[in-house]
């Protein structure tokens, strides 16, 4: 089984557009949306509203029992996240700031604090005879998303283990999230290749460099493609040069195409439109399969 992850550094360069196109072209047996803070793959794939939903429990949150609290304030002194505030004679937890470390529970001399499980998101799993699709949505205000990303991948791989007999030939396509922080790092683990979708802007180039640096630390094999390459050909050439210097294969360039924006507007895949971008995406897919 091979895992292909699609990431970008900068947001909005076309990760989900490409993931959708690849899923339609390659018909992989399993795919996942790891952008749990802004999941969209289910929309572009026009998934029916089925799928098994399970609660995701992230980090616990502290709770103070007012009947036991004597108002000594030790918890507030030790909390590094500013999550405990004096409220009258007692102390209270500002849930949104609590990271669930448990230091307050440990330090409280009265045992007035307990760590409580909270639902921090929803996981969703589609299992059909043709494919497995794993996705999730972070609950707003419940912070840390890296752990949820890891759960999306685990849910996917567990389901693959249970249902797919011959894993060797199988390909898993994973739609990632923007940035270089914890959700991206969580999505990198175990992948065979990460495809970076960039665009020829000063922002795209800067973000690409930072993402390459991050992927190198975790020793991930990379490929790069440029979306809307003809918006700025000089910048596209800079990206090409950067990839040559870094020894990263350039698997394709997609022209700017108003059909792509039309497609996004209507929540459809660009692959369903007959356009210049479609041919380029097909070529990228072929090149990626070779790389993998």
């Amino acid at each position: 089984m091979k895992q292909l992850l699609i990431i970008s550094g900068k947001g909005g360069t076309g990760k989900t557009t490409l993931a959708t196109a690849f899923i339609k072209l390659g018909q992989p047996s399993a795919f996942a949306d790891c952008d749990v803070e802004a999941p969209n793959l289910h929309l572009l794939l026009e998934m029916p509203d089925l799928g098994k939903i399970t609660d995701y429990y992230g980090m616990d949150k502290a709770g103070i029992d007012r009947d036991i609290c004597v108002g000594c304030g030790l918890c507030a002194t030790y909390c590094r996240f500013g999550a405990i505030k004096k409220q009258g004679n007692y102390y209270g937890i500002e849930s949104i700031k609590c990271e669930g470390c448990g230091v307050c529970e440990y330090i409280c001399p009265e045992k007035a604090i307990t760590m409580e499980q909270v639902v921090s998101g929803k996981l969703k799993l589609y299992t059909t005879k043709d494919y497995i699709f794993s996705t999730a949505r972070l609950r707003m205000g419940y912070g840390v998303s890296g752990k949820l990303v890891a759960s999306v991948k685990k849910q996917l791989l567990d389901a693959v283990d249970q249902t797919v007999q011959t894993k060797e030939k199988h390909l898993v396509v994973i739609d990632g999230s923007p940035g270089i922080g914890c959700p991206v790092i969580a999505s990198l683990s175990g992948v065979d290749m990460a495809l970076i979708v960039t665009e020829p802007s000063v922002s795209g180039i800067s973000d690409l460099k930072r993402l390459i640096q991050t992927a190198k630390i975790f020793k991930i094999a990379l490929s790069v493609c440029i979306n809307k390459y003809d918006i700025d050909r000089d910048n596209s050439n800079l990206i090409q040069q950067l990839c040559e210097d870094e020894n990263i294969p350039m698997v394709g360039k997609i022209p700017f195409d108003t059909n792509a924006f039309e497609a996004a507007k209507n929540g459809r895949s660009v692959i369903d439109y007959n356009s210049g971008a479609t041919e380029a995406i097909k070529q990228i897919w072929t090149n990626l399969i070779k790389q993998l």
């Binding site: 470390c101 707003m140 912070g143 959700p183 000063v202 800067s206 700017f256 924006f261 929540g267």
Partner: protein, 279 residues
């Protein structure tokens, strides 16, 4: 006054709106809180006046004192410690700096040391101050950098424009915690709508008033306007789709300095926000 610019979905034009709004407001402060991918200064290109290294506390172990009791390993909710082959191992990158391990160690074998995780750069652009948070690649969390960044401000009634990260997690929460107003930048597409709903929910959870900017607008019916009407969220600006705008942004040019129409559009946006806050 503090105005946050956020979007949920990436690439809708947060940095474009934040940079141009800050440029349209004399004497403003622009804060780049997208510390994973900070791009604001690719447009301002200021000389950096000061650079501050941001450090967090992480544990270090004195292996000679460690007796392998594993109390720290069991305590750490972030799995940043492991005891493997008679050695305590510490995974700095996923440590949340809570200090718990040093508290529970009965042998006094753990100490906290400073570890750099990024930097804050401050520069000037005319009469504006540009502050950028930059996380080191390989680090997991940008939150400490954002916290540090806000400490650098000497506001004196200056308008602050806060360019937020994409998404809707802890770094976004940290960025909008103390703001007066949230400007949500979106595109007139179905994909953006879903993500817009998420950040709108987040901002509402923090009791922040919100207004919408529709970027890449075209004069056809779109789901964003229906959502805004239904939820009574004001649409403060519509920026028409314009290929030339994409081209100048790709080169790092500030639109309000390139074209008077954008100067007018962003000044009106500023006035519209002021009106919203004061009513």
């Amino acid at each position: 006054m503090k105005i946050a610019v956020l979007s949920g979905k990436g690439g809708t034009g947060k940095t474009f709106v934040a940079v141009n709004l800050a440029t349209a407001i004399p004497n403003s402060i622009y804060l780049d809180c997208d510390v994973e991918e900070p791009n604001g200064n690719l447009f301002f290109r200021t000389d950096i006046i000061t650079t501050e290294i941001v450090r967090v506390k992480v544990p270090t172990v004195d292996q000679a004192k460690c007796n392998g009791c594993r109390q720290c390993v069991e305590f750490c909710k972030f799995n940043a410690l492991a005891h493997i082959g008679n050695q305590l191992m510490i995974f700095d990158q996923i440590c949340h700096s809570c200090g718990g391990c040093t508290l529970v160690c009965p042998e006094d074998a753990l100490k906290e040391v400073d570890k750099p995780v990024g930097r804050v750069e401050i520069g000037r652009y005319g009469n504006r101050t540009i502050i950028s948070g930059i996380m080191d690649p390989g680090e997991e969390s940008g939150v400490p950098i954002i916290t540090h960044l806000f400490k650098q401000i000497n506001a004196q009634n200056r308008t602050q424009i806060i360019d937020c990260p994409a998404g809707s997690s802890c770094t976004v929460i940290e960025s909008i915690q103390d703001v007066d107003y949230c400007l949500l930048v979106t595109e007139p597409t179905r994909l953006s709508l879903d993500n817009l709903k998420m950040v709108y929910e987040l901002a509402s959870l923090l009791n922040k008033p919100c207004g919408i900017v529709i970027n890449k607008y075209s004069n056809t019916s779109n789901p964003i306007e229906q959502f805004c009407v239904a939820n009574n969220i004001p649409i403060l600006s519509k920026i028409d789709f314009d290929l030339r705008l994409a081209e100048i942004c790709a080169r790092g040019i500030i639109a309000v300095e390139d074209n008077e129409n954008y100067q007018v559009a962003f000044s009106s946006l500023h006035q519209a926000i002021l009106k919203e806050i004061n009513t």
